[in-house]
C-alpha cells in the first residue's frame, strides 16, 4: 500500500514511532521537517497514493503544518481528488469534522480521532491499523479498523455514502443471482425430501399408466 506520511516539525508532535511502524509494512513517502501545503501538493501530483496519513496537531478547522499553518478540509479534499486517493488517516486531535468532509468530497474512507490524543499514545491505533492492512489486505479498511480499534470511542471510521450506495446496489444485484443464495441444512432436507417424493410419485404414475406395473 502506498502511503504519504505528513509529519511536520511541530512542538509536541513525535511521529517517529508511528512513521517507523508504517514504513516497516508499506511503501511510504515521508514529508517531515518543514512541510508546506505545496510539498503535499507536489507529492500527490508525482505519485498516486492509497492513503494520506497526517501525524500532526489538528482540530475541527484543519490540521497544522510547519509554522502553525492551517490546512483546512477543502485543501485536504483537493489533495485526495488529485490522484483519487482512497483513504485519509488523521492521527491528530478532534478531526471528526475533517474526516466527515473528506468522505463527502473524494475519499472512500477516513479515520479520525474524536478526542484530544495524548501524543505518547497517538501512534498505537495507526500501527495496529496498518499492520492489519499488509499482505494483500490493503482494500479491507473496515476489517483493519475493526481489528485495530478498541471501541472506546476515541477514534471513528468515516465511510463515503457513495461507497455504501455502491455496495447496496451490488448486494441487490447479487440477490438476484441464483447461486449467490444460501441453502441451510434444514431447507435442503425439506426441498430434497419434497423432490424425492414428487419424483417417486411421478415415476409410479408413469409406470402405472404405461402398463409397466
Amino acid at each position: 500500500m502506498k502511503i504519504l506520511i505528513i509529519a511536520p516539525d511541530l512542538v509536541g508532535v513525535d511521529a517517529i514511532t508511528e512513521v517507523r511502524r508504517i514504513q516497516q509494512w508499506h511503501d511510504t513517502v515521508n514529508l517531515y521537517g518543514t512541510v508546506t501545503a505545496d510539498d503535499i501538493y507536489r507529492a500527490c501530483e508525482e505519485k498516486a497514493f492509497d492513503v494520506l496519513h497526517f501525524a500532526t496537531h489538528g482540530g475541527p478547522d484543519g490540521v497544522r503544518l510547519s509554522g502553525g499553518v492551517l490546512l483546512d478540509a477543502e485543501d485536504i479534499a483537493q489533495f485526495l481528488r488529485l490522484r483519487e486517493t482512497r483513504g485519509v488517516f488523521f492521527s491528530s486531535c478532534e478531526t471528526g469534522r475533517l474526516a466527515s468532509y473528506a468522505v463527502r468530497h473524494g475519499a472512500t474512507w477516513a479515520i479520525s480521532s474524536e478526542v484530544d490524543l495524548p501524543d505518547a499514545d497517538a501512534w498505537k491505533l495507526a500501527a495496529a491499523y496498518y499492520s492489519h492492512q499488509r499482505n494483500g489486505n490493503a482494500r479491507d479498511f473496515v476489517g483493519a479498523y475493526t481489528l485495530a480499534d478498541g471501541g472506546d470511542g476515541d477514534y471513528a471510521l468515516h465511510v463515503a455514502p457513495t461507497y455504501i450506495q455502491e455496495l447496496q446496489r451490488a448486494a441487490a444485484i447479487a440477490a438476484t443471482i441464483p447461486h449467490a443464495a444460501t441453502l441451510t441444512r434444514q431447507e435442503a432436507a425439506v426441498w430434497g425430501a419434497g423432490l424425492l417424493g414428487s419424483t417417486v410419485a411421478l415415476l409410479l404414475l408413469i409406470l402405472k399408466l404405461a402398463g409397466v406395473l
Partner: protein
C-alpha cells in the same frame, strides 16, 4: 407386441428420464423464486413443470401396455409443448431484461 415408433428401444426410458430431470429443474427454479421472488424464475419453473408433464405423457404413451394411446394424447402433448416453450422463452427474455437493467444501473453509478 408390434415393434412401432413408440415402442422401439429406449422410447419409454428416454422421456421418463427427461420427465424426472424436468421435475428437478422445476423444483430448483421454484426454490430460487421462493428466495428472491424474481418473476423470471417463476416462469422458468413453470416452463420446466410443463416440460415435465410433456415428457411424462410421451413416456406414458410409449410404455409396453399404455392405458392412454399416443393418439389420445396428441393434442394435450402438443399444447403442453407450446406452453412450455413460450414460458421458457419468456423467462429467458425477462432474465436478459433484468441483466440489461442491472448493466444500465451499474453504468449510471
Amino acid at each position: 407386441m408390434a415393434e412401432g415408433v413408440h415402442t422401439s428401444m429406449l422410447a419409454f426410458e428416454s422421456p421418463l428420464l427427461l420427465a424426472v430431470m424436468a421435475l428437478a429443474s422445476a423444483a430448483v427454479w421454484l426454490l430460487f423464486w421462493q428466495r428472491s421472488r424474481t418473476p423470471y424464475m417463476l416462469l422458468l419453473a413453470l416452463g420446466w413443470a410443463w416440460l415435465c408433464l410433456y415428457w411424462s405423457l410421451l413416456a406414458v404413451s410409449a410404455g409396453p401396455a399404455p392405458l392412454l394411446s399416443r393418439a389420445d394424447l396428441a393434442m394435450p402433448v402438443c399444447a403442453l409443448g407450446i406452453a412450455a416453450a413460450v414460458a421458457l422463452l419468456a423467462g429467458k427474455a425477462l432474465l436478459l431484461r433484468r441483466m440489461w437493467r442491472n448493466g444500465k444501473a451499474h453504468s449510471a453509478a
